[in-house]
């Protein structure tokens, strides 16, 4: 068993970073419950999923979360913070 490559889409980057995911993308400012965008925003959802999958082909640093901007989302929500983060 050699494992299966994964990529995480997270809207809580600080929380997710604690688990040091192999690859992860943070759509900046998306609220919890909107990992891919809002309902019916199919083109935006496609863009997020394409970008997440494309991370598999890029030279990312394991454990690092890549932030991407999607202005089409139209809102900014502050992500949850981890308490006592050093």
């Amino acid at each position: 068993m050699k494992g299966i490559p994964t990529v995480l889409i997270t809207v809580s980057p600080e929380v997710s970073a604690q688990m040091r995911p192999p690859r992860a993308i943070y759509p900046k400012g998306f609220k919890i419950g909107n990992s891919l965008g809002k309902p019916g925003m199919r083109e935006l959802q496609q863009a997020v999923l394409r970008d997440a999958l494309t991370l598999l082909t890029e030279n990312t640093r394991p454990g690092k979360i890549v932030t991407r901007d999607y202005p089409g989302y139209g809102e900014y929500h502050e992500p949850p913070r981890v308490k006592n983060l050093s």
Binding site: M1, K2, G3, I4, P5, T6, V7, L8, I9, T10, V11, S12, S16, R20, P21, P22, R23, I32, G33, N34, S35, L36, G37, K38, P39, G40, R42, Q45, Q46, V48, L49, R50, A52, L53, T54, L56, T57, P62, G63
Partner: protein, 141 residues
């Protein structure tokens, strides 16, 4: 399957997306309407998971999770479980296919050891053995 606790368990991707089959694993509490809902009454969290088949009609999916606002997912499940979006990417040739199995579980637990050593491994084995997935996309809520 063994998990590393100290190192990032990084598996290189050596293929091409256009030749790859993709599975979804979500912590967003997604399951079929006719599957047993997650037990939100259990204060420690439900350690179970549900298998979602490749040919699922997304209108037959729902969310049982009480630690995030899933009202948007209730109207379009793709915001946390992008199964129709994955089909779009298959249709455009960005990926080769949609895996045979996908997984929903409730990403909230006070039983971290049991989640890490039990549920997570079971999910990994389900994907490894039965899904024919080349890669996995993980989502939260």
């Amino acid at each position: 399957m063994s998990f590393s606790r100290k190192c990032v368990p990084f598996t290189p991707f050596e293929g091409e997306l256009a030749k790859s089959t993709v599975a979804l694993v979500t912590a967003g509490g997604v399951h079929l309407k006719d599957q047993e809902p997650f037990n939100i009454a259990d204060e420690l969290g439900d350690l179970g998971y549900r298998i979602i088949p490749e040919d699922v009609d997304s209108s037959q999916l729902m969310v049982t999770h009480h630690h995030y606002d899933h009202s948007d997912a209730d109207s379009d499940i793709n915001v946390v479980f992008p199964i129709d979006v994955l089909r779009d990417l298959q249709a455009e040739g960005f990926i080769r296919g949609v895996a045979k199995k996908h997984v929903g579980y409730m990403g909230y637990t006070m039983q971290l050891k049991a989640m890490y050593e039990g549920t997570a491994r079971e999910i990994a084995n389900e994907i490894d053995k039965g899904s024919r997935a080349d890669v996995v996309v993980l989502t939260g809520g």
